[in-house]
Symmetry: C6
Amino acid sequence: MADIWLTSLITKTPQEGFELAIKMARMGVKYTQPSAEVRDRLRDAYANNADSLTAASQVIAVNFQTVAAANNYWK
Amino acid sequence: MADIWLTSLITKTPQEGFELAIKMARMGVKYTQPSAEVRDRLRDAYANNADSLTAASQVIAVNFQTVAAANNYWK
Amino acid sequence: MADIWLTSLITKTPQEGFELAIKMARMGVKYTQPSAEVRDRLRDAYANNADSLTAASQVIAVNFQTVAAANNYWK
Amino acid sequence: MADIWLTSLITKTPQEGFELAIKMARMGVKYTQPSAEVRDRLRDAYANNADSLTAASQVIAVNFQTVAAANNYWK
Amino acid sequence: MADIWLTSLITKTPQEGFELAIKMARMGVKYTQPSAEVRDRLRDAYANNADSLTAASQVIAVNFQTVAAANNYWK
Amino acid sequence: MADIWLTSLITKTPQEGFELAIKMARMGVKYTQPSAEVRDRLRDAYANNADSLTAASQVIAVNFQTVAAANNYWK
């Protein structure tokens, strides 16, 4: 994957950090399934399944721990 | 998502921090499934499934680790 | 939820900290499913399912990490 | 649960710490399902299921993080 | 496994660190299932299953926490 | 379990640390299912299931966090 998408973990606000964590969760999926077409097809199913959404939120939470620590919790 | 919802991880009390962790867990879901109508429909199912509730509690626990560290554990 | 239930993460002993972690795991469920009647009904099922019990123990373990760090591991 | 079972996170060796982490994982289950009879019955099933064993190992791993930090990694 | 594949956790950029985390997640699988033929066969299934992809992203997230800490978050 | 198998978390290289994390993941299973015969039988099934392999990789990742911290990330 030649694209540059992650040059820094530093963000201006906690919310931008949360959104970076979401990006990281999605990139974790993208590296495993590079086809946008397949990912779009799968999205319909899991965006309508409560447990799948909870699992997605968990991955975001783990990534946000990393981003928050990198930013010293924006203190 | 243009709304500002997370400007700080600092809270006055541990309980407010716990409630922020819940908010973060729900926002993790909301970013993935933006439709309030769909989320409400899914809520009925997972709020009546023990394993779904445990999974939700796990996401809260991970987010609370972050919030608690940000607040130096309210010491 | 107006009740005050979490005013401090500090406990006298590791065991009290573990029991606080259990309380936090249960409150994570309670915020998502406020009905005590529903929770009691679900309890029968998941307390008799090994994987559900392991998942519950995992949430406790994550919360205990937070409580233990808050107490500097009771050293 | 009146029994005292966790008075310290400090152990002499990493292995004793690992065994304490196992104890904590089991106590997480025991607080949720206090009946030894039920737990023994469930044990047969999950001790013969690979995914259940992996999940058990995960809870031990999370608890061992806590115990290892408490012991400053036995350095 | 005689091959040397992990000599350092230090990377030049966060993205290289993320890609190392992916490598670590895959090596965790490879140590358990050394047959490339079997892994390739399994890949088709899980790369087309949303929950499997989320689970893969979670393992990457956990490994990235380690790599990011090792690099002091590239600060 | 009388055998001594974990006397130190310190390893010479990150890779040896990763392999120790695998050992810890397996020992977490072994303490729960001591029968080598049963574990071998289960191995066939989960080594051919993608989700089981991902779950195994997750446990390794959690244990590797502990080992890496113990070694100050081999810096």
